[in-house]
Chain length 483, copies 3
């Protein structure tokens, strides 16, 4: 394990150092910073509305705070911050659902991976990701606005008032986006669980979050070529979830299945170790999704945010029920983890169009997602694509479905354009992942030894067990065989 | 198990189909919908206040958004949405506390039931429940405003501005109420756990949420006869929690006790399988309760919402401590699950009067609830009413207490009126439940076989275990007896 | 166990009685209370800003509600309430992380202690703590404003409008502060776990929350001598976390190490019983910390609150990564619980200066905290200070570091003043704790018997197990030795 540790130290240390240096490139300003620079504030009521009711010039933040526009800005900004902590709640959801749906002997490893990717993800997003995703004027394919968060010290008033261009300060904008950033890599974490080498995942996940995700993100949300084409993905069915699924698929292909999963032509079920833990995860994901989708309104617009809450919830419910019914037909069982995956499928599905589909369409989109997720899980199993938590199906397949559904259910959008956007983003991600994870495989290897996999990654790699005081079923079996 | 599965598929499928059809009855409008219809907006500051400071006419949503009233509307609406996700957090609380307080062998079943009832509950509330509960002008006993959420496509401006009649859009109103709706049935899920047939619970729970709960709800919150009588139940000590307890009692009577619970005149304790899981549940319920009670202010009125937070928290604390002390006297033990139930008892107790009792009264109400819940649990056990998680005591008994307490502690309200309201709602619910669950019992049966119960519902009905990698204590015992 | 129970009943009963009496000393007023008293409202935009844009006189709450200032007040007040429920989420975080990081046989005891200290803490804070911490004009060292929350019945308008002196009603101010109060004692609960007598902890924890914590708190936040000196501790690196660590250290010194922790000159590792449970705890603490730090802005000021979110998150991330790297060097392992502690270390570290340090400094402060926490845990272990969950290191050591860091990283503050404040508060707390816990030790004893400790506090003291259906590893071992 020594070379692994050495690689790890080197990598994490370098990343941290780079982050620190990156921050120093620009001079951060504390919140109190006020300057006398003049700034123009365009009064915009509600994201996506054209009503520019006036123009106002402020010299200081205090002047802005004494204006009538200030109070609306407070609410919009506050909602984005609330949405940010809700998306952080989703990361706890990912950690618990991925841990719960895998074996007990790999629980610590799952959690370690998720803690790492979340924290390095936020830091690297502060370092380079944020300004790759939102580079300002750029060629539409890839740009870079500079290191750091991009607080312009020469215009602090602009950074903290609506002159920044959204209904929020630069800090609120950053923290909300940063919480999103690690999501894609966390999805991959679920796919590769149980047999991936820790440093291999760490390097791959970090570069996915820091480079690939913000590049494809810039194509739409950064105002790139897909935005100009008319592609629509409200909160990221493709840009976030699809990306995670595509990257996960590439990694699983290179990594291979867990030992004993596919033997003698049979598909063996390796059940998750704690359904209650997975349940906690799925409910937290649902709750956090109100921030994920609701915050993507980018304001506290009452009509839009409340509408998004309704479509999000209805799709989650329809997804769960449709998945329950489908599981009956396909698997002849009342499987709880499939019901839970159905909730997630509905949520992923509605994410692309949560603000533009009708509630009725949200139910239908969620239902289809709930059916699709079951069929996709069965399909990938038959293809011997071993995805322990079903993340490729939940996030990848339902992400694609949700993005296309916007073109199907909303007359203003074109299915063809939706297809172009989905394919181009997922293909880029898939090829990036194949190349990067392939390179790692060729150099340091991506898979643990058979012995480590059999013993479980917790004891082998982390030297500890998630539940050291409980007797495993295997120990029991050997014990009871003894007499 | 085949006929069970067939029934299930049929039922869920039909419900889903009905929901889809129901939605199509009315034309949903996306959030962007704006029309030129004129609408009158009465400026109401703070729910329950008479200060109507003016009248304003808006032609479009944009016109409203440019008005001074818009910002206050934004905050009120945002708070209702936050309260909605907090009530969803309570459903995770219910799933974990009910799962934690029952046996490990029935955990998956508990979770499956709760996922089902939450998702079907929200969908059926969108289909018919919301407009049964708030039918508009009606006879005061039962009414129906029509299928669907009731978005009036001919008046989109009215639906998205204060003309709707509350400080929120129709979407925010619906999603908050929908999150409440499944609560009553989730409480029943706890009472019947460990021996109920899954389809029997599914059918019962769905009809309770879709029909019985909104009918009794309409009597007060829908402006029915109890509202006119002067009955007061702020956030639902009786309307939500009492209803769950009364329905649970009816079901338990028809269902009978778990095997081995009452043997040879002795009352055996069947402990919950995970105190930490139950703890997570109770804390999440408490946190969510700030949305349950705080959101019931139906605005972000600073005085009222902050006051409700204080009474809610003080009652929870007093309930926990009183329950700890009472448990010492009655059970001679430091039982953690009773302390947790004490928190819930205090919360249920203060729910009816959280906005009208003094903080001092909130402490006293919580204390009594904490004492009551212990005595009630002991009482029902002596009556051989087997309620595995104590839900009848927590939600039923303390719900009644809380509703009556409004009459006792607040001079403006009458104990007699409170009694009339409580009895009529709970009696209706009890009889409805007795009839419906009786009918199910007579036709398809409500109880699993002895073998299924002994083996646990998880393995028997779901074909899987909640914790497949951990050794159960029973296995150990037989092992240690072997040599 | 009978004398223990008797002491307990007496203590809890008396405390409850005292609380009830205490409340009656002042007349509580329900939220609706309005009076005709005139009140002056100074328009303050944003805490810490000097912009007093005007003065306004209101006769009733309704008059205030019709004013332009009302809407801003609504948002500020709402954010404080949201922050309050987030801090309650932290208490669930504490319960789960402390339970997860200790042995399974003491889980129920940990949870019981935490439920008790949280609920008695809030009640006693309502009874006396709030008005010790904020006594009004006082000598700067210790004062008392009177029993109860301090709602002035002769000036209800003042209590519910900005005349109260903050951007919130008295109720919002109280509930936010009350949620903070129990934190310090909950930290102690983690330190003493596994061998402390329940009533000893109960008495100690209650008096710490009710008396010691608010006295030292008044020195700064109550406007006492440290406030006048220029000491700065934004959200409580020292005032809350340091206090918990110092009290915990005193208790552990008097209590001694767990049996078998230090034997024959060796330091034995006693691992936590559930890493997933600890993970849930740490993530919830992080999420709640956005309320802990963000709410400490005491308004919804968009610039400040969003800035605090960014510094808080960056420090947490840097703490986790630095702790991961340090653990490699020091412990040669990929320990997940140390990574989790690194998150907490970063959060504790940034708490003192979250609103005044730059994002770059927040990263550095978090990194150092992540290194420090690992070294401190190793150090205390070598000193035979047995702190099962590492709370003294996380909250005490990193709390000191964070407070001093304000003096190091922010030119406006002096390291010397920061040192004076930190030392005086922690010394007072340490001596108070030593004296009180020493007195308890001398009279009723603080430590359970060896037998109780070996069997675990759950079965011995509570008569129940946290996981009664799962086989423990010890049982297995003895079983497998038998044949």
């Amino acid at each position: 394990m020594t070379p692994i540790i050495r690689t790890l130290i080197l990598f994490v240390g370098l990343t941290l150092a780079a982050t620190v240096v990156g921050f120093q490139v620009y001079a951060d300003q504390p919140a109190e910073a006020t300057a006398s620079a003049e700034v123009t504030y365009e009064l915009v009521y509600g994201e996506g509305q054209d009503t520019t009711a006036g123009e106002q010039t402020y010299g200081t933040v205090e002047e802005f705070m004494a204006s009538a526009e200030y109070v609306k800005f407070m609410i919009d900004n506050l909602w984005i911050l609330i949405a940010a902590f809700l998306v952080l709640l989703m990361h706890l959801g990912f950690a618990t659902v991925e841990s719960g749906l895998t074996q007990a002997k790999n629980s610590v490893n799952v959690i370690y991976k998720n803690v790492f990717i979340l924290t390095i993800g936020i830091l690297s997003y502060a370092f380079i990701g944020f300004q790759i995703m939102y580079p300002g004027d750029f060629n539409g394919f890839a740009g870079f606005g500079g290191f750091g968060i991009g607080f312009d010290a020469s215009d602090p008033v602009g950074m903290l008032t609506p002159a920044y261009g959204e209904e929020m300060t630069i800090w609120a904008d950053f923290i909300f986006q940063a919480m999103f950033a690690a999501t894609a890599a966390t999805i991959v974490s679920g796919c590769v669980t149980g047999r991936v080498k820790l440093p291999a995942f760490m390097i791959f996940g970090t570069l996915l979050v820091a480079i690939s995700y913000p590049i494809t993100g810039s194509w739409l949300w950064g105002g790139g070529w897909l935005d100009e084409l008319g592609f629509y993905d409200f909160a990221g069915s493709t840009l976030v979830h699809g990306v995670g699924g595509a990257a996960g698929l590439a990694c699983v292909i290179l990594l291979g299945a867990r030992k004993g999963k596919y033997e003698d032509g049979k598909i063996n079920t390796i059940p998750g170790h704690s359904i209650p833990l997975a349940t906690i995860g799925v409910f937290l994901l649902w709750i956090g999704w109100f921030g994920f989708n609701g915050g993507s309104v980018l304001s506290a617009d009452p009509a839009e945010v409340s509408f998004v809450f309704v479509t999000t919830a209805l799709a989650a419910c329809a997804g769960a029920l449709a998945s329950m019914v489908t599981t009956q037909f396909v698997m002849k069982s009342l499987d709880a983890s499939m019901a839970l995956n159905g909730i997630l499928a509905g949520l992923v599905g509605v994410t692309a169009g949560a603000d533009v589909v009708t509630p009725m369409s949200a139910v239908v989109i969620g239902m289809f997602a709930g059916v699709l997720v079951v069929l996709a899980i069965v399909f990938f199993d038959r293809m011997k694509i071993d995805d322990p938590v079903g993340a490729i199906s939940v996030h990848g397949v339902c992400g694609i479905w949700g993005t296309l559904a916007v073109g199907i259910f909303v007359p203003e959008f074109s299915v063809i354009t939706q297809l172009i956007g989905t394919v181009s983003i997922l293909l880029f991600t898939f090829l990036f992942s194949l190349a990067l994870f392939g390179l790692i495989k060729a150099t340091m290897g991506v898979r643990v030894s058979d012995q480590v996999e059999t013993d479980g990654l917790d004891v082998s790699e982390h030297g500890s067990s998630a539940y050291p005081y409980f007797a495993g079923i295997d120990i029991i079996r050997s014990t009871s065989e003894k007499p």
